[in-house]
Amino acid sequence: MLVLVVDSSTPAVTAALVEVSADGVTSRASRCTVDARAHGELLAPQVDAVLADADARPGDLGAIVAGLGPGPFTGLRVGLVTAATMGQVLGIPTYGVCSLDGIGHPVAAGEPVLAASDARRREVYWAVYDGTGQRIAGPDVDTPAVAAARARDLAVTAAVGDGAHRYADVLDLPLRAEPRYPDAVALAALAAARIRAGAPSERLTPLYLRRPDAVAATGRKPVLP
C-alpha cells in the first residue's frame, strides 16, 4: 500500500512516499528541506513532488502517517493540518507517531540511546529508547542538562538527533551522525502494524508539551499608563 509520510516537527520539512507491504516498508520517493522558517511554504510542494516522483496521484494513497512532534508549535501544525486535510478529502486513515521515535528507534542497537531535537529557548525535546528501540522515557521538554541527567540514570550510551548535536558539550555522550531529523521510513515502520491491520483513523493531536504563552488579565486594570 502506498503511504504518505509527513513530518514538520524539526527544522527539517519532510514528505515521503513509502510502500508498506507484508514484508516491510520501502521508500518510493522522499523530499526533505532544512529551513526552520518555511514549513508552510515547503511542505505542500514537497508532497506534490513526491507524488510526481513516484508517478502516483493522491487517489493512489492508502494511508497517511504524520509526526506528532514534539516540536515548535507553528511549524509542527503545518504537517498535522496537511495530513488531516488530505486524509479527509481522500477518505483514508491518518496515523500519528511521536516524531522523536523516528530519530531514536532506528539507531537502537543493544544499548539505550537518547534522542533529542531543538526546542528553542535553550531547551530540547527528548526521549530515551532501550536497546530494542522501545521508548522508555519521554517525550519531554527540558534543558539539555536535565535531559543529560535523566539519560545517565537510564544508562544511555549514545545520543542522536539535531538537538543532541547542538548541545553535544552539555550531554557529553557519543553522537550518532544519523538520523539527524525524524526518518520517514522509520515513522512509517512504527505505524506499519496499524496500517496493515486497517486500524481506525486517528486524530492527529500535536505533542505540544508546553502551554501557550498567555497571561490572564487579572481583574480590571487601569487603561491609563
Binding site: 508552510g40 506534490d48 503545518v78 493540518v81 488531516a84 498567555a214 488579565a217 487601569p222 491609563l224
Partner: protein, 348 residues
C-alpha cells in the same frame, strides 16, 4: 447559475475558523467555529490559543460546510484562503489546510487578502459591486478606508488607524465599564439606553491641522484615554458611573468620525457607493449614522448582515469567486502566510 464556479473559502486570520462555499454570488454555506470564549479571560485574542483552536476546528468545520452546501470537495472548482494580513501562526493553519485540500483534491488554490474579502462579501448580499467604491473596514484588528477601483487586481488604501483599531477601542472601553469581551455587542446594547450627548468625548484627527496630514486616517487611542479619565474621575469621587451614557457617548464619537471620513472620501472622489465591513460594521449606530449621512448626498451605503461582517469563510469564498470570474491566475503551492500582507495585494 449552475454553471458559475463553485468556490470554497477558508478563513483563520484571527480567532474564527471559517469555511464558506459560494456559487457565483450565491452563498451556499457559512460554517464557523470560534475560540472567542477561550480568549475572553485574557481580555484579548491569544495567538497560540487561536492557532491551536484552528487546527482542531478546521476538519469538522469543513465537514459542516460541505454538508450545509450539499456538495463534495470533488465538486469544488477552486479553493480560496486568507493568506494575510492577520496573526502569523493562525494564518499558517488555514493556508496549510487549503494546500492540503488543494493537493489532495487536485484543485487550484488562491491566497487572498483578508481586507479585500471583507469588501467582497457584500456581493453575496447586494450583488456585483459598482466600481469604483469606497470601503470602510472596521474591526478589532483593522480600521481602514479604501478606494476600490478593481477588487480583482488591487485596492488603494486612503487611510487607516494610526494607533488602535476601532474594535480594540470598543474592547478597552467595555473593560473599563465592566462589560464582557468582545466589547462591541455589549456597548451597542448599553448605548441604546444612554444619552450620546451627555458627555462629549474627543473625535481623533478631525481638527483642521490634523486633517491636513491625516484626512482619511483614524485615531482612537486619545478617545480611549479620555473615556478612562472620565470614568476614573467618577470612581475617585465615589460617584456611580453612568454606564449607558458613557457607552452611548463613546460609541457616538467613534461612529461620528468613521462615517464623516468615509463620506468625505466618497464626495472627494465623486463616488456613490460606500461599503462597510468588519466586525464593527455590525454596530447598529454605525449603520444608522452612515445611512442617514449618506442619504443627504445621494450616496448608497451597502452593509452586509452582521454575520457576514465579522470574520467568516464566506467572505473569502466570495473574493475567490470574484477572482475566478475575473480570470485571475491561481497562487503557487508555495504561497506563504503573510501576517503583514499589504492592502494593494488582493491575491498572491
Amino acid at each position: 447559475m449552475a454553471d458559475e464556479p463553485l468556490i470554497l473559502g477558508i478563513e483563520t486570520s484571527c480567532d474564527e475558523t471559517g469555511v464558506g462555499i459560494v456559487r457565483g454570488h450565491t452563498l451556499l454555506a457559512d460554517a464557523l467555529a470560534s475560540s472567542v470564549e477561550e480568549h475572553a479571560r485574557f481580555g484579548g485574542v491569544v495567538p497560540e490559543v487561536a492557532s491551536r483552536a484552528h487546527l482542531e476546528a478546521i476538519v469538522p468545520t469543513m465537514d459542516r460546510a460541505l454538508a450545509e452546501a450539499g456538495v463534495t470537495i470533488a465538486d469544488i472548482d477552486a479553493i480560496a484562503v486568507t493568506s494575510g494580513p492577520g496573526l502569523a501562526g493562525a494564518l499558517l493553519v488555514g493556508v496549510a489546510a487549503a494546500k492540503g485540500y488543494a493537493v489532495a483534491a487536485e484543485k487550484p488554490v488562491y491566497g487572498v487578502n483578508h481586507l479585500a474579502a471583507h469588501v467582497a462579501v457584500d456581493t453575496l448580499e447586494h450583488g456585483p459591486l459598482p466600481e469604483p467604491a469606497i470601503a470602510l473596514l472596521v474591526s478589532g484588528g483593522h480600521s481602514s478606508l479604501l478606494l476600490v477601483d478593481d477588487l480583482a487586481r488591487g485596492v488603494t488604501p486612503l487611510g487607516a488607524t494610526i494607533d488602535d483599531a476601532a474594535g480594540e477601542a470598543f474592547d478597552k472601553v467595555a473593560r473599563l465599564l465592566g462589560l464582557p469581551f468582545p466589547g462591541g455587542p455589549p456597548i451597542d446594547r448599553e448605548a441604546r439606553n444612554g444619552d450620546p450627548g451627555s458627555i462629549h468625548f474627543p473625535r481623533g484627527l478631525t481638527a483642521p491641522k490634523d486633517l491636513a496630514a491625516h484626512r482619511y486616517d483614524f485615531s482612537f487611542s486619545g478617545l480611549k484615554t479620555a473615556v478612562a479619565r472620565w470614568v476614573e474621575a467618577r470612581q475617585r469621587a465615589g460617584e456611580p458611573v453612568p454606564v449607558a451614557d458613557v457607552a452611548a457617548a463613546f460609541q457616538e464619537a467613534v461612529c461620528d468620525v468613521l462615517t464623516a471620513k468615509a463620506l468625505d472620501a466618497c464626495r472627494a472622489n465623486g463616488i456613490e457607493t460606500l461599503v462597510v465591513g468588519g466586525g464593527v460594521a455590525a454596530n447598529s449606530r454605525l449603520r444608522a449614522l452612515a445611512e442617514q449621512r449618506a442619504a443627504k448626498h445621494g450616496i448608497r451605503v451597502r452593509v452586509p448582515r452582521p454575520k457576514l461582517c465579522t470574520d467568516n469563510g464566506a467572505m473569502v469564498a466570495a473574493l475567490g469567486s470574484h477572482l475566478v470570474a475575473a480570470g485571475v491566475a491561481p497562487s503557487r503551492l508555495d504561497l506563504p502566510a503573510d501576517s503583514a500582507m499589504p492592502l494593494t495585494v488582493v491575491s498572491v
